[in-house]
Symmetry: C2
Subunit: 254 residues, 2 copies
């Protein structure tokens, strides 16, 4: 049985303010909830239909609270258009990030990526390419937005996401002599560039690209050349498409 | 002045049935409308605010009908959450497709791609990589869906999109000895594969991948290897991410 208060609380997690205040986010759908349970994240509340709980035997300490309820109740609480059989309220993790760690890896940074779908897709790409850290400017979409969670397809439980002052981080990376790359409409052709195995690649805003303040901190401007025939072609690639291609190029050579 | 009938008609173009019956689709937003006007597509109706029409001087034969109206009227007609200053009703084009042409090019084929955002992004990717023909199974999302038009960012005016019996086309390609590739979770590693400059690459459904009927027609099964560390990682890439990486790999080597 799901109380009115619980339903109200779950729906309030659509708002960033509430998520931050409560320190939790919402995970919906059978597969994603099972990923949450299997992850190192702390599950505060697990809600499932009798069918879900029966077909997925879970240890007693799987969550601080487990509630069995009807599909109708799940429907009432859900933010999804087509709710499934399970919902979880999960604690927002806090990760440490050290320049020492970054200098030994290839990482992605996002400068004001606004669209939740793009962010979710980029988290999934990062996970696929074994990228441990995704660094976001504070004005990038919130990774605990339900739309991001859904489109990340569980990668949110594996990639460590950090929101911080990107300019300051770029300064620190420059000081540590860690190469900082950025994607631009002009620059070195990525296919013929010499790409290092360690570094940070910055991707910019959907409409405006990388901001001027961040651009000044980037030593290696790279671009993905267009193969369009004739004068007219798309002006740019979607930021998640650019992320896919860049990660593929960096990783296949490393 | 926009009549009630016109507003009703514009909004009815949200439905595939109406688009097919009327042979037109909807283009919204200043930039996209200007792309429509500059394309070879026939614009049946152009609606713009006085500001839009003044700052974008257009030839008198730009559309069968031009209507100047207030931003409030545009808002009433628009399907967008944040309407801009222009809307166009554009004729659906009919393209010829010949196996003779396909054998000299690299093309993409989609087997039941359902999400309009994914389809729009793939059209944009095709345009970027100079891919002229995008072949869709008849159960793939409709490319004239307003969501596809918006996410294609104008690429819809340049890439020729064909809906047809994909199995039959695969048979014809096999007969013509045109290599048919498909992305799978297992197969040749794309980074070490010998990829031809001409061929058709099939991408599958978001949840289920390429259908068994199409799989039997594919000679070259390729996959994008994951670089995830440890046992757990994302099970798959988003179909538009896979399209980005594959097009990048095929084109950079061709």
């Amino acid at each position: 049985m799901l109380s009115k208060n619980k339903i109200k609380f779950i729906q309030s997690l659509n708002r960033k303010k509430t998520r931050e205040k409560e320190g939790v986010f919402l995970v919906e759908g059978n597969k994603l909830v099972l990923e949450a349970v299997a992850s190192h994240f702390r599950v505060r509340l697990l809600i499932g239909t009798p069918g879900f709980l029966k077909s997925n035997p879970l240890p007693p300490d799987v969550a601080d609270e487990v509630i069995e309820c009807s599909p109708e109740e799940i429907k009432k609480a859900s933010l999804q258009q087509a709710p499934q059989q399970a919902i979880a309220v999960v604690e927002i993790p806090y990760y440490q990030l050290s320049m020492n760690q970054l200098t030994r890896e290839f990482s992605l940074a996002l400068d004001f990526v606004q669209d939740p779908g793009n962010l979710g897709t980029i988290i999934r790409i990062a996970d696929w390419f074994g990228i441990r850290n995704l660094i976001c400017s504070t004005n990038t979409a919130d990774c605990f937005n339900p739309k991001v969670i859904q489109s990340s397809m569980g990668a949110i439980f594996r990639v460590q996401i950090h929101y911080l002052d990107l300019e300051k981080l770029m300064d620190e990376a420059n000081q540590a002599q860690l190469p900082v790359y950025g994607t631009f409409l002009e620059g070195e052709n990525i296919y013929s560039s010499n790409l290092t195995a360690h570094g940070i690649l910055v991707l910019g805003n959907e409409g405006n690209g990388i901001s001027p303040a961040i651009e000044t901190k980037i030593q290696r401007k790279i671009h993905i050349p267009s193969f369009a025939v004739g004068a007219r072609g798309s002006e740019s690639l979607n930021v998640a498409s650019a992320a896919s291609i860049c990660c593929s190029e960096f990783k296949r050579r490393s």
